[in-house]
Symmetry: C2
Subunit: 467 residues, 2 copies
């Protein structure tokens, strides 16, 4: 179970006395201001994260970058000084590993930034640059900051802040692969890959995988692919992708009554059509079979991220939609990922608002119900092999009601969800009889082969054996 951290906003330690211009912690996020979160701050908050039942950290970029989100990489071999530099990452990895937590970093390999050394050489030397083949230049001179002229180089979605690497160049390939290897040797546990589809070259990612896995065969490689990802999930490129095919149906079903589609459309998610239980079950059954079962087990299932409005805000603040969605997330196949702050009901519209500072000093603002709910679910998932690695079979899906079975090696779990406002009864048959406990209410259920359950309105039963 992952916890996604946006480093500038998660936690600021008292340790970085940098005398810099920073926004106040908690001020409204802007595109250009820094708040000064750092990795020492993350170390100080590992107790909180671990208390959520989390056992893996996925960090938005941490390398030196002149941008608060750090996607504009300035130096791939250096942790940003504002984050505490290499020393802080070293300590963080060691502290995380000591707790049995993995650390995955975000790698932006498609493009660099205007200040990146080899690109800067093109700006300084023009055609004389030793590195002129590292990028895609159409004419000289380049105009990196002068919008009245064409940039004259290829950039990510035309954003001249992000010059695209020429990954056909041998030096560039070696450079990028060496970055991947360098941090793997440092001890990270995997890579999240930013817009990897834009490097339109299977051999690039195949060699990337070979090198990463040569250092750690258990490494996790997860690509940011928003659409169909078959091309990258054949076993020779990524282990998984960021599963936005999971995100959208969750919004559609759990948020059916409260969806703010204007917000969705201004966000990475886009317009979402509401779904009932049957449509959701149908879609999630497809998603479950979309890739090889091993891949589906590894998919990064997220409700939101730094690239989307927060789930709670998209459903117009309806806490029940978030808790229902979290219930599904934690009981479905794959690797759940919680975006920092979601556990306390932090609000946030589209980027940059979804990147607010975590309100450590205002615990009265935290929604403890959401946090407690999450903790019960992660505990159940840790306990239950069926929830973690079991099959997924829909037993009932109609109107507001959904039920599914998870099974692994003879161990069962049953999840019953009710998105209606009122409590409803659900009759299920072909159940594996036995003693179960509802992970949410703590109630015991002696389950027979056929059984009728009452599911609370906007609520769920998560029936787990032996809890």
């Amino acid at each position: 179970m992952f916890y996604q951290i946006f480093p500038d906003r998660f936690a600021r330690s008292g340790r970085q006395n940098l005398n810099l211009h920073l926004q106040d912690w908690g001020a409204p996020p802007t595109l250009h201001d820094y708040m000064g979160g750092d990795l020492w701050g993350v170390i100080e908050r590992l107790d909180h994260i671990q208390s959520l039942g989390i056992n893996a950290l996925y960090f938005c970029p941490v390398f030196q970058s002149a941008s608060n989100h750090r996607y504009h990489t300035h130096d791939y071999f250096k942790v940003d000084p504002m984050l505490g530099g290499d020393e802080a990452l070293r300590s963080l990895i060691d502290a995380a590993h000591a707790r049995g937590m993995k650390v995955v970093l975000d790698g932006v390999f498609n493009h660099a930034s205007r200040g990146f050394f080899q690109f800067n050489d093109l700006l300084e030397q023009g055609e004389h640059s030793a590195y002129r083949d590292w990028f895609h230049v159409s004419a000289w001179p380049l105009f990196p900051y002068e919008h009245q002229h064409p940039a004259n180089y290829e950039a990510w979605w035309g954003n001249r802040a992000l010059p695209k690497f020429n990954t056909d160049d041998r030096s560039v390939r070696e450079f990028l692969w060496s970055v991947a290897e360098y941090w793997m040797r440092w001890g990270i546990d995997g890579w999240r890959l930013d817009v990897p589809n834009e490097i339109n070259d299977d051999s690039f990612w195949q060699e990337f995988r070979r090198r990463v896995k040569a250092i750690n065969p258990e490494a996790y490689i997860v690509g940011e692919i928003w659409g169909d990802a078959q091309r990258w999930l054949g076993g020779d490129q990524f282990d998984a992708v960021m599963n936005y095919n999971f995100t959208r149906p969750c919004l559609a079903y759990f948020g059916a009554q409260t969806l703010d589609n204007a917000m969705n459309e201004a966000s990475g998610t886009g317009y979402v059509s509401p779904m009932d239980a049957a449509a959701f079950a149908g879609r999630m059954s497809e998603v479950t079979r979309m890739y090889d079962p091993e891949v589906v087990q590894a998919q990064l299932n997220l409700l939101d991220s730094h690239d989307t409005a927060r789930f709670l805000s998209v459903v117009s603040g309806d806490v029940s939609a978030l808790t229902l969605a979290t219930t599904f997330q934690m009981t479905y196949v794959g690797a759940p990922s919680v975006y920092y702050g979601d556990e306390i009901g932090l609000a946030g519209g589209p980027d940059p608002d979804c990147r607010r500072a975590f309100p450590w000093s205002e615990p009265q603002t935290w929604n403890r119900e959401i946090m407690h709910h999450l903790q019960m679910l992660t505990a159940a998932r840790h306990h239950s092999k069926a929830l973690r690695r079991g099959s997924f079979d829909v037993l009932h899906a109609e109107g507001d009601l959904l039920a599914y079975r998870r099974e692994c090696g003879g161990e069962y779990a049953y999840v019953l969800l009710n998105t209606g406002q009122q409590a409803s009864d659900m009759a299920l048959d072909n159940l594996a009889p036995g003693q179960y406990r509802d992970a949410l209410s703590g109630r015991s259920y002696g389950v027979g082969q056929q059984q009728r359950f009452s599911v609370p309105g906007r609520g769920a039963l998560v029936l787990v054996q032996g809890l």
Copy 2:
């Protein structure tokens, strides 16, 4: 005795297979092209350097920089990848130390470059930059590359490629001092400081010294100060400066008949008025007393550098002027510094021509006379405490003829120079009688209290005891 190396042009190893656009080794130097010299190449040529009698290396900048001279620092904590990166410097320092050679690096602390991380943040974030106090901004936005607008930030001599640090800012001071400490801990033996007078703040350099000497009390700190340097040489800032007060008189006297002042004026040296022996002796006696004797002993005495046309070219190719000047340099008070290539008579006009590639593969072009002459003098200097650390007293200075005495702890050396075309006799008295040998001809001299010597035209006697 120092050897000054311009890394891009000294030697290219076969080891850096970077697939980059480089000029051919030996092509005419330009402002923007790289030739690809590297530090592995220096290691491969340590035998050559050591054979010259050199025991210290002074490197023009080696840190990551988008410029062939590397004065535009992009990263103070990283050796340029084209030079072989940190690994090559590590090996070079170890190899040099194993030979008893010191390593001094060039530190550019007054200004950074446009690609330097913290400055790049100003370009990317504008007024929102966390680092906006690191530089001197007069208005927003900044125009780093758009010459039709004012730059809106202070830069070295108005060159917007070189944004000047705000060294009043506490973070900036700590940053720059930490650079100095970092490389001292790495094992370098000192710093040559680029344009340190432009940081108009004694307390900055006082603390710089404290920190450097705390790591290595023997460290050598030499500033690039072209004029009067009293302010920095009081014992609490630098150990020495680049002694251009030595350079100019040498050109004036030894080059009196062949000076190319058009070239001087296009170079760092500026116009030089010819001198006769009396004027030269008077000036050098002043220079010898200009600072505390300990400082004078430490001065970096150079005939030329990366910032001037080469001595041999300024004297219109007159080899005798160079060998006479070298004779003086190696027998005068202070620390002689030989600019790479001077030992083989490499030519070069003002920057960038004075930065030609060392012609390793064309040994037939080397002037062996110059090299042999240098070797005899460095051997004599190694042998003679009087030459290294002795007093300096002019015995005779008239017309073309100059004679001086060096004495240290009862050990004597006498140097007689004749800049005329014909051999001349010189009568000296008050000599320390004894057996001497001329380091240049190898001839023995039984010297009495009074003695008449014949000094060859455009030649010298370097009389050393016990050689």
